[in-house]
Symmetry: C2
Subunit: 373 residues, 2 copies
C-alpha cells in the first residue's frame, strides 16, 4: 500500500532547506551507535568544537539543540527570561514576531521595535527603545530575516545594548556560515541557528551558544525554566561538563550529518564561504535585474544568500513557481505575510550557492513562455 | 583536523537506539526536498496514516513532533495542562518522575502515585489517588518504563480514569510497535512515543496522538500554551487541516527514515511484530537465567523487549559492559537511579530483536573469562 520512497530530484533554491552535499547524505546512512557510547561522546565534542569555530567564539556553553531552529530560539528565550523581565525585540519580519510571541509566553514584558518588513532596525530605533525601557534584561534581533532577506547590522547596536547592561540575543538561522558573523567580536550573548541553510545539512537541529555573561544570568535564575526539554541546567550536563548525564536521546544520525557538514565548511574556510555567497549573489543579482526583477531590500542591507525580489509586472508568481517546481524541479520560495503573492525568496545557500544553480534558474525563466519580462 | 566519520560497527542491545534496518539508513540518504513541497506534504500524510495504523487509532490529531520522545512528553503536558489543573501521575521509574517534573513546570498541582521501581501502578493505587483527588484533569502513566522494564496494564485503569471524567495520558516510548498497544480500544486520550526503540528508526522524532476528548480540552484552553514550538494550535495546521500553514521546518531526512521504518512494521504486521518480541524474549530469558541473571520485574508485568536483570553475584557490571562494548561491539544498558551499578537493561527491540542478537550476547558472556556464573 505504501510504496518505496520516490521523491523528485529537486534543486533547492528556496529559503531552506538547501541542497545537501552527498558526503552529508552518506554520513547519515552510517549505522547507529548508542547516544551514550564513548564514541558518540567524542562526536559530540567534535561537533561542539566545530560549532565554536564556525560561530567564531570561545563560548564554553556551545552545543546543539535536538530540534529545529525554532526550538533554538525558544531555548534562548525560556532560559534567559523569567516572568516580569523586560525585553526589547526588533521586529522586521516573521522571526522577530516569533521571538516576541515566545518572550510573552515566558511572562516577559516585551517592548517591540517594529519597522517595515524589508528594512532593518537602526541604532537610533534601539536608542529610542532604551529611552522608554532603559534597563531591559535582553535585546533580541534577527541577523538575517528569512522572511524578507534583510541583513541586520549588529556591531554598533551591541555596544548600545551592553552599555545599558542588557544581553544581546541574535537569530542567525539564515546568516550562519553564509555571511560574516563573529559571535565573540560582536559580543553576542545568546545565538541560535539552523542546519538547513548555509550549512547544507538536513533540517532538524539548532546550534546555539551562550556567553559567560549569559551563563551568569542562567545561574542566577529564581524560577525553574518552563520547558524541561530545553532547560539548559539539564541539557548542559549532557553536552559537556566533567560527567555526561543522560538527558534525552540525541538524534544520532542527524548529528552525523551535522558533523560532516561542519567538516565541509571548515575545509572551505569560513571566510571563503562568506565570499562565495557574495560572489554568486552578484551574478544572480545582475541576471535577475536583467530579467526585470527588483529587490525588496535596500542594497546595503541585503542578504547575499536569500534574494527577496518582486517579479516583473504582469507575472503570476504562483503559476511560475509551480512550473519551476514541476517542469524544472527547481524550488524557490514565495513571500510571507504582506509579501505573500508578491515576492520570491531565492536562496543560494551552502551547496545551492553555485553558478550552476544560478544558471539553471535563470535559463528556466528565460525558456518559460509564461514568464513576462 | 576532523577526520571522516568512523564509528565502530555496534550491535545495539541497550534501551535504545536499536539497530536500524539498512532500508531505513538508505532512505535517509535520499536527497532533500523542501518541507513545503507538495511531495513532502504527501509524505507527511502517509506518515500520519501509518502512525494511526500502528497506534491502532482513528484519532484525527495524530502526527509527529519534530524532536525526541521527551519533547513528545512535553507536547502532551504543555498542551493539555493549564496552571492550577490537578493531575495524577504514576511514578515507578525515571519517566513517570519526568512527567511530574514537566507537569509542575506547567503550574499544575501534581498528585504523585509513587511505587517502588520495577513494580507497576495498580488499579487500587489509582482508586486511592482518586479518593484524594476525585476530579483530576489528567491521569498519566508510563506504559513501558524504560528505566526498569516494567509493563503497566492500562485497560482497567482507563475505565476508572474516564469514570472520574479525566483524560488518560500514556508514555509509549518503549512499548510502541513492540508490545500490545491499542489506543482506541484502551481509550487513551494522549499518547507519545519515540522512533529509536521497537520502530528501529534513528532517534529524533516523537509520534503523538490525541483523542477527540483531548482535542476538546485543547480547544477550551483559557491560556496560551507556554511553548511556542510545541503549541498544537499552531503545529496542527502544519500536519493537517485544509490549508498547510508553515510552522517550523520539518526534519525532512528523519521523516524519510520514519516513513521507511513504518513501512517495514506494516509489512511484518503489527501483531506479528508483538509476537516476535515475545518469542525472542522467551529465548533470551531462558539463556539469561541459565547464566544466573535474575529479572527485576515480576513475570506478569515484564516487558519482553527491555530485559532488566541483576547480574549473578560477584560480577563487576561496569567492567563487563565495557568489555562487551569494546571487544564484542555489543551495547547493553546499565541501570538508572537506585539500580545504577546493579542491573543491566538488555534491549531486543525492532531490528535488534533476533535470535542472532540473543546468541551474540549470550555467547560473548559465555566466552568472557571475567564473567562469573
Amino acid at each position: 500500500m505504501y510504496k518505496e520512497l520516490n521523491t523528485s530530484n529537486r534543486i533547492l533554491m528556496g529559503p531552506g532547506p538547501s541542497d545537501a552535499h552527498p558526503r552529508v547524505l552518506k554520513a547519515m546512512s552510517t549505522p547507529l551507535i548508542g547516544h551514550l557510547d564513548p564514541e558518540f561522546v567524542t562526536i559530540m565534542d567534535e561537533v561542539k568544537s566545530m560549532v565554536q569555530e564556525t560561530f567564531i567564539t570561545k563560548n564554553h556553553l556551545t552545543f546543539v539543540v535536538s530540534a529545529p531552529g525554532s526550538a533554538g530560539m525558544e531555548t534562548c528565550l525560556v532560559n534567559l527570561l523569567e516572568p516580569g523581565d523586560e525585553v526589547i525585540i526588533g521586529i522586521n519580519g516573521v522571526f522577530g514576531g516569533r521571538m516576541a510571541d515566545i518572550a510573552e509566553r515566558c511572562g516577559a514584558k516585551v517592548h517591540k521595535v517594529v519597522v517595515p518588513w524589508g528594512t532593518i532596525i537602526s541604532t537610533n530605533d534601539i536608542k529610542k527603545a532604551l529611552d522608554i525601557c532603559p534597563k531591559p534584561k535582553l535585546v533580541a534581533l534577527v541577523h538575517a530575516e528569512t522572511s524578507t532577506g534583510a541583513l541586520q547590522p549588529l556591531k554598533e547596536i551591541s555596544n548600545l545594548v551592553h552599555n545599558a547592561g542588557a544581553l544581546l540575543m541574535v537569530d542567525a538561522v539564515t546568516s550562519y556560515c553564509g555571511v560574516e558573523l563573529k559571535v565573540d567580536d560582536w559580543d553576542i550573548d545568546a545565538i541560535y541557528t539552523g542546519t538547513q541553510k548555509n550549512l547544507s545539512a538536513p533540517p532538524g537541529l539548532s546550534p546555539v551558544s551562550f556567553s559567560d555573561r549569559a551563563v551568569k544570568v542562567l545561574e542566577n535564575r529564581k524560577t525553574k525554566v518552563q520547558s524541561w526539554f530545553l532547560d539548559l541546567s539539564l541539557v548542559k550536563n549532557y553536552w559537556g561538563g566533567a560527567k555526561r548525564a543522560y538527558h534525552h536521546t540525541a538524534p544520532v544520525s542527524s548529528v552525523y550529518a551535522l558533523r560532516e557538514s561542519l567538516r565541509i565548511v571548515l575545509e572551505e574556510g569560513i571566510e571563503e564561504r562568506w565570499e562565495r555567497h557574495q560572489k554568486v549573489h552578484q551574478v544572480l543579482k545582475t541576471k535577475l535585474e536583467n530579467l526585470g526583477f527588483e529587490y525588496l531590500v535596500e542594497e546595503q542591507y541585503r542578504l547575499p544568500n536569500l534574494n527577496s525580489v518582486f517579479l516583473p509586472e504582469g507575472n503570476d508568481e504562483a503559476l511560475l513557481r509551480s512550473i519551476l517546481l514541476n517542469k524544472y524541479n527547481i524550488e524557490v520560495g514565495g513571500g510571507l505575510g504582506d509579501f505573500a503573492g508578491k515576492i520570491w525568496r531565492i536562496g543560494i545557500m551552502g551547496e545551492s550557492c553555485t553558478l550552476n544553480h544560478v544558471n539553471m534558474l535563470i535559463s528556466a525563466l528565460e525558456d518559460m513562455k509564461e514568464f513576462k519580462r
